[in-house]
Amino acid sequence: MTVSKSVLVIGGSSDIGHATALRYAERSWQVALAARDTITAQRNADDIKARTGNDVAVHALDILETDRLAAFVDDLPALPDTVISVVGELGDQARAERDIAHAAMVMRTNFEAPSLLLGLFANAFAARGSGTIVGVSSVAGDRGRGSNYVYGAAKAGFSQFLSGLRNRMALTGKVRVVTVKPGFVRTRMTAHLKLPAPLTVTPARVAADIYAAAEESPRDVIYVGRRFWLVMTIIGLIPEALFKRLKL
């Protein structure tokens, strides 16, 4: 009998977390979800169980309580083979410009907390000698735009953290770190926004790309949707003198 591999999805109450966990469960992985909102995470776990027949564990985790992250990792019944953070909070840019507490919450949720947690998993994986770490960042971190730079800056920090962590882990050769950069995704987080249809993908698409990148290919950084890679490459090439005058 083969023992199935295990995955822990941090942010398991979200739509991308749900879709990602389902993708892994469909491929017979043992799945666990971690979330602050355990009621919604349990709803996702029940859904995955109904669809695949596989039990899904739910762990309570408030990722902003960073002094408890080490205990969370230590207390897990077993260290997973793959850990995926889909934690994210879009926030409200206009509010973040006036309200320091709100800006800090956005920065901590998108950068500080997931970075610290994945750093702990990296140490544990390195000690074990195996593991895959997936961080879901965002194309918004590729360049700061006036319309959402607080979120973007936090995602930029997260992307750079993952980049550095990957570099460190690659030298040991045992632990993989994968950065996933979705563009527009139709989820609860973006439900109130008008998104451009040709560039907008479903959570299931993000999940499929995460699984393919983390488990079926050696890729380090992926954009979800090649179109977005192109868009962000072009945006990245615009000279700052011009870029600062654009309304983006």
């Binding site: 029940d46 109904a50 669809r51 027949g53």
Partner: protein, 444 residues
Amino acid sequence: MSDLAGWGNYPRIPTEQLVPARAEAIAPLLAGRSGLVARGQGRAYGDAAVGMATTLTSSRLNRMRRFDPASGELTVEAGVTIADILATYVPRGFFLKVVPGTKFVSIGGAIAADVHGKNHHRDGGFGDHVIALRLMLPNGEIVTCSRHANAELFHATVGGMGLTGIIVEATLVLMPIETGWLVQETHVAEDLDAAMAALERTAAHTYSVAWIDCLARGRALGRSLIYAADHASAADKDRFAPARDAFPPQRRAGPSMPAFMPSFVLNPLAVRGFNALYFRRGARQALTPQLVHWDPYFFPLDTIGHWNRIYGPRGFLQHQCVIPAANARRVLAEILDRVARRGSASFLAVLKQIGDSHGLMSFPLRGYTLAMDFPIQDSLFGFLDELDAIVTAAGGRLYLAKDARQSRATFAAGYAGLDGLRDIRRCIGATDKLVSHLSARLGI
């Protein structure tokens, strides 16, 4: 506020649209609002799922709750679609007992319209395979309804067009299948008598339906292709296609209609040509059994995204009536004759036998149902009123899930359950609270 329409793109009406993220989020939305109705995937053709003031879309109530493979009982949130259920459970060897002509409908919508399939004559409607549902009443309270608990509410909700509360969850029974394939045979009928005889002859099959060439006149009036099918056993599958997967996954989406076609595309000449080709193609397959994949068999039109756009920006109406068996031959001939003489382009016309139904407001009656699509023209409304008069005189009625224009008199004559539904609505405080454009138009 933005404009919303049904699948027929007529009428388009402004309404506030809300998309609750989960069932618990609905009650606060109900408080302080009235003139509200739930909407699933918007596949009702007319104004059934457009709220007078507010429309509550269930698209995010899309989680499954639990499944018991031993009993086949599946509990899902109301926004889960038939497409999702089949994509998930066909590979596990299960199928829904009843599916309508499109898989892109929500379970809440399928219950509210008590949709029927090509097996209604044998297996009843969608609601007949619902064990229980959780219904949010206008006051925000959620009650469980079944044939045993709150039975009156259950019978009014199956086929009740969302007017008795908001369905948040339902438990259905899936049936085991040996394969995801069907064995289909095609019969050719040169006129209406032959078509009705063929439908009766093929009624022993699980599924049977006739496609009618509505432009055929005179002696060819009612000429049809009758498709009869059964789920293929493992032995059937091995006989026809030993190399194929027993439980094939859903087909990938095909091309989508990118925009509204200009109205001249569907001219009578083009439709006549299409029908002639279609009829000849079907006749070639006659009586040779074919093995058909479940997805194109049940949902042929779903392969073309937005096929409704072929009718142009003005939209289209579907007229679907049921005629009790006793009068069916004469009445169907009269309707078909009028349609053929009008020469209007209806290239989707379907005739099938259906049986009795059990919801208070369910559409089926023992007899025949005929469904025809018509692009909207100014002259269409008067013409359909004439057809309605024939239907009413024959003791028939129109399907509310397709309706956008019938009169109150036609409706009241067809639906004996109307007073009972009104009583229940009064009793639960739904009369002003849950109002769709359909319910307001028909005085429900």
